[in-house]
Symmetry: C2
Amino acid sequence: MTKVSIIGSGNVAQHLIQAFQLDNSIEIVQVFARTKKNLAHLLHTDRIISDYSQLQAADVYIIAVSDDAIAEVSSALPFNNQLVVHTSGTVALTSIAITNRRGVFYPLQTFSKDKAVNFKTIPICLEAENEKDFETLSSIASTISDAVYKINSEQRKALHIAAVFVNNFVNHLYQMGNEICENNQVPFEILKPLIQETAHKIITLSPKDAQTGPAKRNDLKTIEAHQQFLTDENQANVYKILTQSILNNGKKL
Amino acid sequence: MTKVSIIGSGNVAQHLIQAFQLDNSIEIVQVFARTKKNLAHLLHTDRIISDYSQLQAADVYIIAVSDDAIAEVSSALPFNNQLVVHTSGTVALTSIAITNRRGVFYPLQTFSKDKAVNFKTIPICLEAENEKDFETLSSIASTISDAVYKINSEQRKALHIAAVFVNNFVNHLYQMGNEICENNQVPFEILKPLIQETAHKIITLSPKDAQTGPAKRNDLKTIEAHQQFLTDENQANVYKILTQSILNNGKKL
């Protein structure tokens, strides 16, 4: 039985608690939360603490707090030489106070508060300072996910930026598509199956092979017609930059 | 029984043939194809013709050829005052020769040659010059799809541009994410569940409500760190433009 304690009560903390509770090989010793009631629906209140001095022995302490608070929280822990990890995609392992053995336990997914997730498919990116700690993290991660990766801090930084492209920026393009529909009295609903299919395609095809559209075909006539249609400066600008990027990509081949 | 003939033997034509064959209320009278063997796996060769003069009576003639060929094909049809439609997202209804009653039967999806599609979920956008023809198209479309829309040529143009944003541009962002991963020895696989979840979210949330990330949070520190990381000029440029677009969006609220 691996003993885990969690510091934090936000989205990631709550999803981790629920995932760990599904597996008998993990014991959640304690969860640190400033206000107990955030977690009262998830575990018995005598396991919820709000004072670091109450922390008991565990195999790993998972700090699941906002990026800015990680360094401070890690410094406040009242013990040395324990395995302490954070769950952030952007913060370096070295941001954790050096008094403990440090690591990263980063589940790469967008967590929404009220939306249940199937943790089995969520990639967990792990980093540790020594092989034994890595194995501890790996065995914990494997109980909740089928996709466990060894990723160092530099790789994690690249991964987070790539995630901004395929998640944040992609969602913003959905929003721009939505705007174009609204401005022209077209229901955005019509585009939803296409959006799903676009995401689904790259499970089996590389994005390069899946690329279609006027820029890919070098269809300058259609591109010009689209540019004339887009009178909104920002829409026209984004259209121009991404079209140019696809066109240049073709030339690189 | 509604009688349909199809002109063309490409992706869209083949997917339509297969969809119509599933329904007993539609009879495929003939398919026009320059070379019969493209379609030999789909229907009996005596229904495949390669000479317009062989075309028999049908309730609707569906021109499923490349955009550039629509006007010419429609002019070559050896009859008048019949219902003739094309399947394009970009070509105007008026591109069809005026000698016949004109319409549009546009299934909005990316069709890949070897990938079966479930037509029931594919939106079909219809346009016709009179109410009776619209009803004919609507009854045909409803047999193969649960999502039938009345969309005029101007709306269809907007829809196609919005589709470029949510399909072509989104896929290009997948490719850029893939490149960033490759350049940093990170498997792109890790991002695939996030990509699926990003697409899945907007089925129930508006893209505006689903937006997350550093630009949405106005987290200028992270944005600056990302910009320093991106040494590729094109990646940096796309990052800048889309981040700015999300930031400005926040200001508009």
